[in-house]
């Protein structure tokens, strides 16, 4: 280890952590699983004055049922969440997406909250939270606020979190039993952030779409909610859904970028394709002749 000098505290309660955050006056960084933070510290891309290690705070761990949803403590290890029966039952697409986060080894340490709050636009957890309409519970010594996931992300690695705030829970709202899940991403290697990907859920009632939540990963500076596509799906009967037309609407909401891994045109082209294919497969729609 060769990070810039920092102070270190390891509180055992949320209140202690919040008061440490308040005392730090903006110079603190939260250490959860450390899968991103530790390399950044060593490379000095991150140089906090104080590191607040929240790994010893029991109340930040675990999965519980909350009213109308499932609450995940931010320090829940990704591996534990993957094996969690409650999540598997109530938030299946989150579990599916989680299996693409990092690698088998890193998921033993990496946390759900770390992945959600880092704000990498091509990561799976932020887009999943946005798609499903999750609520991010945020606390500071001044109080608690609930932020809808699609208002949480401001830009690459930028969120609405104030320097004295801590994510204390991610609440995934319940989707009706048997809801349709959507997930597909393309990444150059397993475990990489996606070049482009999509995640979402649909509720059907009486053969028509009664609720829709879909978001893109890797298609802009934040996870992008596919609002036009969501709206277009609502109230549609299955036989009236044109997956390609919906995908076109979904792509219209994006703002992908060029980098040396993929061009923006690639992201749009393949995004449209995987969106179409995923929707078609999930709804059992036949391919247009």
């Amino acid at each position: 280890m060769k990070p810039a000098p920092f102070d270190y505290v390891a509180p055992t309660s949320i209140d202690e952590a919040l008061s440490a955050l308040a005392d730090a006056g903006g110079g603190a960084t939260i250490l959860a699983g450390g899968q991103t933070l530790m390399p950044l510290l060593n490379l000095r891309m991150s140089q906090p004055f104080i590191i607040i290690d929240i790994n010893r705070i029991a109340e930040l761990k675990g999965v519980t049922r909350a009213s109308g949803g499932t609450r995940v403590g931010p320090v829940t290890r990704q591996a534990d969440a993957l094996a969690d029966a409650t999540l598997a039952q109530h938030v299946p697409v989150m579990v599916e997406a989680l299996s693409h986060v990092g690698h088998y080894q890193t998921r033993n340490r990496g946390t759900v909250g770390g992945s959600v709050s880092l704000g990498e636009p091509a990561a799976e957890m932020p887009a999943t939270a946005v798609a499903l309409g999750a609520t991010i519970e945020i606390r500071s010594s001044k109080g608690t606020r609930q932020v809808p996931a699609d208002e949480f992300y401001l830009g690459p690695y930028m969120t609405v979190l104030e320097p004295d705030e801590l994510v204390t829970g991610i609440i995934y709202p319940d989707w009706a039993d048997g809801h349709v899940t959507l997930f597909r991403e393309v990444a150059q290697r397993p475990g990489d952030f996606a070049l482009v990907g999509m995640v979402g859920a649909l509720e059907l009632s009486g053969g028509t779409v009664s609720r829709s939540g879909i978001a893109w990963l890797g298609m802009g500076p934040t996870p992008i909610k596919a609002r036009q596509a969501e709206a277009a799906l609502l109230g549609k009967s299955l036989d009236a859904i044109d997956p390609l037309a919906i995908a076109e609407l979904a792509v219209a909401d994006t703002a992908p970028f060029d980098d040396h891994h993929a061009s923006s045109e690639y992201r749009r082209t393949v995004g449209r394709r995987i969106f179409t294919r995923t929707l078609r497969e999930a709804l059992g729609l036949k391919e247009a002749a």
């Binding site: 060769k2 810039a4 150059q188 290697r189 397993p190 891994h261 061009s263 045109e265 393949v270 394709r273």
Partner: protein, 899 residues
């Protein structure tokens, strides 16, 4: 050659588990960072954040105040140190290299200052406080920039770092190409590679007193480092010991110490305490010498049957600002054709300076020859309308075609590329694949088959300063156990195992009783270590013969002691047997105890002890042949490539350990897969490297590399033991095999006209969709629009004005070895000219012809090699310009003014 003693245990050819694995797999290896010395201090470098400019100020005041900082050095602090940063050949670098920036910065990451502190973290704290003011200039980044841009190194005319060959196609070759039934031209742009060894560079240096030094360094040969340091610091009297027990990958990057490592050694000498520097991954990606960035255009003419009639290659490589030796990579052209029947070939090759990190050697540095040749052959087969198998069979060299000499004068007598290719096809059912491919296409699945063949020059020795033979010193200790001190070095090469296999078999002892010592310049003797696919061949031959010499000594002693005929004595399992008298068997230990403890009992002319030493000098080159096949599936929706199958059919002669051979091939193929599909170190227009972590620099992982299948052929070479090297082949043959498979899969959609690597999913969709998905075409159009107008060529029309040729002229000839100054004296007489060149090499006389103001003559020179220089000079006014053709090495620009 591998004669077996009856009943002797075979070790050569066995898949013996490696002796070193227990240590390495349990975390007990000793790498540079494992070295901790009392009083040791740590270094961090402050590096340039800009690509090009003049340093106007360096303010270290704040940094010096950081507690725990001992010293901060800039280049000025080394002004009193005589220090010569050399290239791999122990020669000078064309653009002089200082360990820290000397007044100018020439690339992002250029080391400007070094901090010596109690810990690396403190050193980095202080390095961040050093204020470097730079008067920034517009950088030259790409090959296109370098061609027209302002010289990277002040005082140079242009950005040509090294040039060989002739861009003008020879008339005879042109006639062959003009007469060809098919002429195919292809271009490849190969991306920049970050070498990325698992263990980054690292060095710990300590001065023991004023003269002696001990250096632990992650390197490819402790002996070479010791020699380099001795020469670089001009310390012939100094005892320099270099230790590198375990090394996590070298690939060419660690052939010799470069700026940072030399700086650590210099700092240890200046500051007088042990100093450690371990490169972090950010430095490794952005500031370790890079590799590969290169462009090549190859034209080949074929007759109507698909036989090659001639070719011309134009190659450029981006050398960066301070390459580890300027290099135009002439080996690309030299090694393009030994495996093939190519009657005529011309080339031009240039290395270009740019404001990027310098270039270093990387596994198969000349690999572009196979990539451009094998991909072009596939394109040619399609255009001519024959099978890629057929075009290779028509042109490949088989044993029956040999001896054969290439246009470069390389004679091959025992290579088997054709035989490897046939053996490959015997193990792969091509018709069945073609059927499956056709059926799959019906279902929208796109399979492709890639084939490629090549030869790999290995075990180079005797023609370049560092490329020597290898030494083996083998001893039966008084305990009867065997120890060997070798000049070998392993970065995972398994020499501690393979050499023990050779020794155990040749001596007749148990493998477990042989210990190899290496990895320390105090052990063995000079060799470049793991460089140039050489150790199994040369060190294997040295161990082979030294062991035989030792066995002979044991037999001679046993014959004397036990009153037997030496011919009747065999050694097996560590026991010495006399034919027909099993009761007379003795252990090696018994004989060793006598040899050491009671030498009076030995035969008269036998010295005490039991040891033998042999330095093996092999033939200049030993070629290894191979052919590979690879099957891929390309997802036409996403542009993703899945490798389904990969077969290697190689002939590396005597195989000492198939596991080690296959490990070498697999490692090279993994690198090939990385180069074709994943790895890329791009720079932005300001010269910032864009892949600074492994998040952006994509190394192939276990899920990207398939299980390879291996077919071995074993045509012994002409070396002792018959081994052939196999270290670089996978990285050479892998890229064309994979590219050809992808191109085959993409046939329903179109051709890859310009191959740009890596073949990212975006670029594959360019072909699938016949449009510019990747944005490359738009980028190229933009580059072309912005390119500076080509420098008007100084084409001097045959002058009509009267020019007096007679007299003395001060002339300069630009040779690959640097500019050569001379005075030319000319005397014309009608259509004839006589004269001489005078230089510090002495006088050379010539006779030739005059046509107007154009003078032509030939000059035979002996140094540095026997060659006829063909001069063609045009005199105009008080100036003269032209060139001298240097046979296969191209031509040297020659110019001058009247004296």
């Amino acid at each position: 050659m591998n004669v077996q003693l009856p009943g002797a245990h075979r070790y050569i050819g066995e898949r013996t588990p490696r002796k070193e694995d227990a240590r390495l797999l349990t975390g007990r290896g000793q790498f540079a960072d494992d070295v901790r010395l009392a009083g040791m201090l740590h270094i961090a470098f402050a590096r340039s954040p800009v690509a090009r400019g003049t340093i106007t100020a360096i303010d270290s005041a704040a940094a010096r105040e950081v507690p725990g900082v001992h010293a901060i050095y800039t280049q000025a602090d080394f002004s009193g140190v005589a220090l010569n940063v050399m290239n791999f050949f122990f020669g000078p670098c064309e653009a002089p290299v200082t360990i820290l920036a000397d007044g100018r910065v020439s690339c992002v990451g250029d080391p400007v200052a070094m901090v010596i502190a109690d810990s690396r973290a403190i050193a980095e704290d202080a390095a961040a406080l050093i204020e470097i003011e730079i008067d920034e200039e517009d950088p030259v980044i790409t090959l296109a920039d370098a061609r027209g841009g302002a010289p990277v190194h002040p005082g140079k005319d242009d950005n040509i770092a090294q040039e060989m060959g002739d861009e003008d196609i020879d008339e005879d070759l042109q006639a062959l190409l003009d007469g060809a039934a098919h002429t195919i031209t292809r271009t490849i742009h190969h991306q920049r590679i970050a070498q990325s060894p698992m263990e980054t560079r690292g060095c710990v240096a300590t001065c023991d007193g004023s003269e002696e030094m001990t250096i632990w360094i992650s390197c490819q040969s402790p002996h070479l480092v010791a020699r380099y340091v001795s020469l670089a610091f001009n310390l012939p009297e100094t005892a320099i010991r270099v230790i590198a027990k375990d090394v996590g990958g070298g690939f060419g990057l660690k052939n010799f110490p470069w700026r940072e490592e030399v700086a650590v050694i210099a700092a240890a000498r200046l500051f007088g305490r042990p100093i450690k520097w371990i490169e972090d991954r950010f430095e490794s990606l952005t500031a370790s010498s890079h590799a590969r960035e290169q462009e090549v255009t190859l034209t080949i003419g074929f007759d109507a049957d698909g036989k090659m009639v001639g070719g011309f290659g134009d190659y450029s490589s981006n050398n960066g600002a301070f390459p580890m030796g300027e290099d135009c990579n002439v080996a690309v052209h030299m090694f393009m054709w030994p495996a093939y029947k190519m009657p005529a070939y011309g080339f031009v090759s240039r290395g270009w300076y740019s404001n990027t990190m310098g270039l270093g050697g990387y596994r198969g540095p000349w690999a572009m020859e196979s990539l451009i040749r094998e991909t072009l052959l596939d394109d040619a087969a399609r255009e001519i309308g024959i099978d890629p198998i057929e075009i290779r069979r028509k042109n490949l060299i088989y044993l029956t075609d040999q001896p054969n000499t290439t246009t470069f004068g390389i004679e091959v007598t025992d290579i088997t590329p054709g035989e490897c290719f046939d053996k490959l096809l015997a193990n792969f059912d091509v018709p069945a694949f073609r059927k499956e491919q056709a059926e799959s296409r019906e279902q929208g699945r796109y399979l492709g088959l890639g084939l490629a063949a090549y030869v790999e020059p290995t075990a180079a020795a005797g023609q370049m300063a560092p490329m020597t033979g290898e030494l083996a010193t083998i001893r039966i200790e008084p305990t009867g156990k065997v120890t060997a001190s070798l000049s070998t070095h392993s970065q995972g090469h398994g020499t501690a195992t393979t050499m023990a296999q050779v020794i155990a078999e040749r001596l007749g002892v148990n493998f477990e009783d042989v210990t190899i010592f290496e990895g320390d310049s105090a052990i063995g003797g000079f060799s470049p270590g793991a460089a140039g696919s050489r150790q199994a061949v040369i060190a294997g031959g040295a161990a082979w013969t030294a062991t035989d010499m030792l066995a002979d000594k044991v037999k001679e002693i046993a014959a004397h002691l036990y009153n037997a005929n030496a011919e009747t004595i065999t050694i097996e399992g560590g026991m010495v047997h006399i034919e027909g008298t099993p009761e007379m068997s003795h252990s090696l230990r018994e004989i060793a105890e006598i040899a050491y403890g009671e030498p009076a009992r030995l035969p008269g002319n036998t010295g005490a002890g039991l040891e033998a030493q042999f330095r093996y000098q092999p033939p200049p080159f030993t070629f290894t042949s191979a052919a590979h096949a690879c099957v891929v599936e390309v997802d036409a929706d996403t542009g993703f490539v899945k490798i389904q199958r990969w077969i290697s059919s190689e002939d590396c002669g005597t195989v000492i350990n198939p596991g080690v051979v296959e490990g070498q091939i697999a490692g090279g193929l993994a690198q090939a897969i990385g180069q074709v599909l994943l790895e890329d170190m791009p720079y932005d227009a300001r010269g910032n490297p864009l892949a600074a972590t492994f998040k952006d620099y994509l190394m192939p992982t276990i899920s990207d590399v398939p299980d390879f299948e291996y077919v071995h052929a074993n045509t012994p070479s002409q070396t002792i033991g018959g081994m052939r090297g196999v270290g670089e082949g996978g990285a050479i043959i892998g890229p064309p095999t994979l590219v050809n498979a992808i191109a085959d899969a993409l046939q329903p959609f179109g051709q890859i006209d310009l191959l740009e690597l890596p073949l990212t999913p975006s670029r594959i969709l360019d072909i699938v969709e016949s449009r510019d998905v990747s944005g490359d075409a738009a980028k190229r159009a933009k580059t072309e629009a912005e390119a500076p107008a080509e420098e008007a060529t100084a084409e001097v029309a045959s002058s009509s004005g009267e020019t007096s040729i007679d007299g003395a002229w001060n002339m300069t000839m630009k040779t690959p070895a640097g500019p050569q100054e001379m005075v030319g004296h000319f005397a014309t007489d009608g259509g004839n000219v006589t004269g001489k060149f005078t230089s510090d090499q002495g006088d050379q006389e010539f006779e030739g012809t005059v046509e107007g103001s154009r003078v032509k003559f030939n000059l035979d020179v002996e140094q540095p090699m026997k060659i006829t220089l063909k001069y063609d000079l045009l005199f105009e006014g008080d100036g003269v310009s032209g060139k001298a053709k240097m046979g296969m090495f191209g031509s040297a620009k020659t110019s001058g003014t009247r004296a």
